[in-house]
């Protein structure tokens, strides 16, 4: 029992560090995807990454490495399809997504025995699968993604906010878009061990969606989303251990719970403010009863 709890502690610590790195990194990059209304792209890249995992298992190589390579190729293909903006792009994306996951499932199956349990850990994440070398990969690649997502923020914000203007202002729009695509692939891959390929995208999107309910600007949204991501990931490791649930699902359920709590809190604050404004507009509060300029009214709407 004593040795069991030491083992438990060590892999718990690894899982915790990995989850915190992912919780910080995924929203920092995901905000650029949400900003250009491509929230689901991480999900598609996750599907493609599964083929990479299959290739790795089949060749008896590190699945993380092959998954990074294959999902980066997939993400670049998705970006090039998006750039063309053709209506057929929608169908091309569907082909890529389903081809990615179907190919992955087949390749994992071909790779040998214990594959079913293996497949589940890649799809949904697991506490126990973060090895020491996995953790090193997660920390190093996570730091690279985080550094670029924060360091290039002004340029990535400009491109994601208004691509046409960014092009006219002389920014290397295509290079920046491809960089975001590759960073998405890297984020998906380092997150797959903990959160799983099917749920990675949630950690890139949900904390951002929660943060933007209250933040007024981009930097504020980014900072708050990172805090929320770490909170969901960190508490998810603890909760998954306590009640023995799948780690990825636990983290995502906590992140969505955070979104709902924020939505209710925002609605409650609005209702209270509205009531306060109504009271203030009664006779005897002449100053507050002055008509507001219409843009202020829009602000509250």
């Amino acid at each position: 029992m004593g040795s069991m709890s030491i083992f438990a502690n060590e892999f718990m610590i690894r899982a915790f560090i990995g989850a915190v790195v992912i919780g910080l990194t995924a929203p920092a990059l995901g905000i650029y995807l949400v900003q250009r209304r491509m929230s689901l792209i991480g999900d598609g890249v996750g599907h493609v990454a599964l083929t990479g995992v299959g290739v790795g298992l089949l060749l008896d190589r590190s699945p993380v490495l092959t998954a990074v390579i294959v999902s980066a190729i997939g993400a670049i293909a998705i970006e090039l399809i998006r750039e063309r903006g053709r209506t057929s792009g929608d169908v091309a994306l569907a082909l890529l997504f389903y081809g990615g996951i179907a190919g992955g499932v087949m390749l994992v199956g071909l790779s040998g025995s214990r594959s079913n349990a293996n497949l589940m850990t890649y799809l949904f994440g697991s506490l126990a699968t973060t090895s020491r070398s996995d953790l090193a990969v997660i920390v190093v690649l996570g730091a690279v993604v985080l550094g670029l997502a924060i360091g290039l923020r002004p340029a990535l914000f400009a491109v994601s906010h208004d691509e046409e203007y960014a092009r006219v202002s002389g920014l290397p729009v295509r290079a920046l878009n491809l960089l975001v695509a590759v960073l998405t692939a890297v984020t998906v891959t380092i997150s797959m061990r903990a959160v799983g390929l099917l749920l990675v995208s949630a950690l890139m999107v949900v904390p951002v969606a929660t943060a933007q309910q209250v933040a007024r600007g981009f930097v504020a949204t980014m900072g708050l989303a990172m805090v929320l991501g770490v909170a969901a990931a960190g508490s998810g490791v603890w909760l998954a251990w306590e009640i023995d649930t799948a780690l990825g699902a636990t983290i995502v359920v906590l992140a969505i719970a955070g979104f709902l709590v924020m939505a209710v809190a925002v609605a409650a604050v609005r209702a209270v403010r509205k009531r306060g404004a109504l009271r203030a507009s009664r006779p005897g509060h002449a100053a507050a009863a002055e008509p507001e300029p219409h843009e202020v009214v829009l602000d509250r709407g």
């Binding site: 905000i31 949400v34 900003q35 250009r36 209304r37 929230s39 360091g151 290039l152 002004p154 340029a155 914000f157 400009a158 994601s160 906010h161 208004d162 691509e163 046409e164 203007y165 960014a166 092009r167 006219v168 202002s169 002389g170 920014l171 290397p172 920046l176 951002v208 933007q212 933040a215 007024r216 600007g217 981009f218 930097v219 504020a220 949204t221 219409h294 843009e295 829009l298 602000d299």
Partner: protein, 248 residues
């Protein structure tokens, strides 16, 4: 010196020709209004100058350079704020995005950049809204944010696509004021417009685009002369609102 030189430009989308053999020269200090009906090709003309639309034939020289790359010399004001409004952004953040290319993407913003944003905010009268989300602004204030974003980079040429469409009178006046200051400082302007409104006194030349060709070029025509123009009905088909084109 010619700032913009369009020579025999032809633009086509798929099989449809939008601009046919258009030539136009804009020299330093001019304020050129490009007028025309919807679908006349006036927006395509400025988009091709900005290299957002490829030419099928002809060539466009900017600042005397056929292979123009110094985009920081041009400020672009699109018709409306970009679609990437999924995440909130403050007015100051949007204006600051106009400085990134000029500064270099690897450099963090410096004090000079913050000062440029503050100056641009003051020029369009939005200093008190710097920290507000752009989506909370009225349409006219959003338009002023976009001209501030272009002005923050201290361009020599300003290109505006229907800057005053659907903008309230107060914002139009603020807009005209900011544009006037830019012109007074030696700037060159090309603007696509449906109606000139308070911008009219600033305009030095009008170019009317009609069916992808330049139908008229010259000073701002007086309403009477314009009504006498035989091509008038085609150039500006929505008859009931036509006086608005030259400012009531």
């Amino acid at each position: 010196m010619s700032i913009v030189e369009v020579k025999n430009a032809v633009v086509g989308y798929d099989e449809r020709i939008v601009l046919r053999d258009v030539s136009l020269t804009v020299t330093r200090g001019e304020v050129v209004a490009i007028l025309g009906a919807n679908g006349s090709g006036k927006s395509t003309l400025i988009r091709s100058i900005l290299r957002l639309v490829p030419l099928s034939a002809g060539e466009i020289t900017l600042f005397g350079d056929k292979r123009f790359k110094s985009w920081e010399r041009i400020g672009y004001v699109p018709q409306r704020i970009g679609a990437g409004a999924g995440v909130p952004a403050t007015v100051a953040e949007v204006i600051g995005s106009g400085l990134v290319a000029r500064r270099g993407i690897l450099r963090p913003p410096r004090a000079a950049d913050r000062a440029a944003v503050a100056t641009a905010l003051a020029a369009v009268g939005l200093s008190d809204r710097a920290g507000d989300p752009v989506t909370s602004l009225s349409g006219g204030q959003q338009q002023r944010t976009l001209i501030a974003r272009a002005l923050a980079g201290r361009p020599e040429l300003l290109i505006l696509d229907e800057p005053t469409a659907g903008v309230d009178a107060a914002s139009q006046a603020a807009f005209a004021g900011a544009l006037g200051e830019f012109v007074a400082g030696g700037g060159t302007v090309m603007l696509v417009a449906h109606e000139l409104g308070p911008l009219q006194p600033l305009i030095t030349r009008c170019v009317v685009v009609h069916h992808g060709e330049i139908a008229h070029e010259g000073g701002v025509p007086a309403p009477a002369g314009h009504h006498a123009d035989p091509g008038h009905d085609h150039v500006h088909p929505h008859a009931p609102a036509e006086q608005g084109m030259w400012g009531a």
